[in-house]
Amino acid sequence: MKVRVHVSLKPGVLDPQGRAVHHALEGLGFAGVNDVRVGRLIELDVADGTTDAELDEMCRRLLANMVIENYRIEKPETV
C-alpha cells in the first residue's frame, strides 16, 4: 500500500526557506505570490493492513517533528 505523508511547518513558525523561495519568485517577475511555505513529501510503501495508528506513530516519532511541524497522511483511496 502506497502512502504519502505531507510534512509542513506549523502556522506561525517562520519558514526562512519559504521566504527565500518567495523572494526568488518575485525576482523572476512573478507578481501576486502572497506567501510560500516549503514542506516535505515522504512516500511510503507499507504492508497492506498497516493501521492509521501505526502510520500516526511513524509520523509522530520520526517523520515529523511535532514541535515545529504538522503532517497529513494521504492513503490510496485519496492518492
Binding site: 513558525v13 517562520l14 526562512p16 526557506q17 527565500a20 520520526l62 517533528n65 514541535v67 515545529i68
Partner: protein, 226 residues
C-alpha cells in the same frame, strides 16, 4: 576522587568528536572513552557524556533526527534520567532536542546561511554544573559553525525556560534568528545541556580564545565535589 570517566559518542557524520575528546582530556587529564552510535550500552559508572558536533547521517530528514533514534540513545536517555551530566554541542544539541531530552527545535538559520565565526555570548545561568565557573552575565567568545541553529519553541515553553533559569547562554548579536537569542539551554534537572556554540574549539589560547575551557573545568570541578 576517582578518575573522571567521560564518554564521547560518535555518530556517522560526527566531526567534532575528536575535538571534544581532546578538550575533555586536556581539562580533566583523563582521555574519555569513545563510544559508537551503534553500541547498545554505555560504559558503566560514567561521570559525563558528550554528544559532539557534526552532520550525523548527513542531516537527513532533519538535523539530529536519525541520530536521536540510534541504538546508543536509549542508554544516553537512561543515563540522563539517572542524573548523569550530558552535554550536546551543535549537532549534539540538535540530537538532544530531537530525542526529547531538551525542549524546542533547531531550525534553518533565519537568513539561510551557514554561519562560521566566533560569537559573543552572555552567560545567563551560573548555577548549573556546566556554567558554575563563569561569572553571572559575563560575555564570552565561543566559535559557532552551523546551518540549523535557529532555536524555536512555543511561547509557553520559552516562558518556562526563562522562568526556571534554564536559558544557559544567549547570543549578544542574534546571528541565526533564535527565539529570545537563545544559544544554550538546560533540562529540568539541570544535568542535560545543549548549546550551538562549540566550547571544545576554545580551550587554549592557540584556538584564539579559551572561554570554552571554563565550561569543561566547571564540569570536572562539580564532579570532583560530588
Amino acid at each position: 576522587m576517582a578518575a573522571f570517566r567521560a564518554a564521547v559518542v560518535t555518530f556517522p557524520g560526527s566531526n567534532c568528536d575528536r575535538d571534544m575528546a581532546v578538550a575533555l582530556e586536556k581539562v580533566s587529564g583523563v582521555a574519555p572513552i569513545r563510544v559508537w552510535h551503534g553500541d547498545a550500552d554505555l560504559p558503566e559508572r560514567l561521570d559525563f557524556i558528550a554528544l559532539p558536533g557534526g552532520f550525523s547521517y548527513g542531516d537527513y530528514l532533519r538535523s539530529g533526527a536519525m541520530a536521536a533514534n540510534s541504538p546508543i540513545m536509549r542508554a544516553v536517555r537512561e543515563a540522563a534520567d539517572r542524573g548523569v551530566p550530558v552535554l550536546g554541542v551543535c549537532n549534539g544539541f540538535q540530537v538532544l532536542t530531537e530525542a526529547g531530552l531538551l525542549p524546542g527545535a533547531l531550525m534553518r538559520n533565519a537568513r539561510q546561511n551557514f554561519i562560521c565565526r566566533t560569537a559573543p555570548l552572555k552567560v545567563e545561568n551560573t548555577q548549573s554544573l556546566f556554567t558554575a565557573g563563569y561569572e553571572q552575565g559575563a560575555t564570552i567568545h565561543i566559535p559557532v559553525a552551523h546551518h540549523d541553529g535557529n532555536f524555536f519553541a512555543d511561547q509557553a515553553t520559552l516562558d518556562r525556560l526563562e522562568g526556571e533559569g534554564r536559558v544557559a547562554m544567549r547570543y549578544l548579536d542574534n546571528l541565526n534568528g533564535s527565539q529570545r537569542d537563545i544559544a544554550g539551554i538546560l533540562n529540568e534537572g539541570g544535568n542535560v545541556m545543549g548549546m550551538m556554540p562549540h566550547p571544545e574549539r576554545a580551550v587554549e589560547p592557540d584556538h584564539g580564545g579559551s572561554d570554552g575551557r571554563v565550561l569543561f573545568e566547571s564540569v570536572v570541578r562539580a564532579l570532583a565535589m560530588a
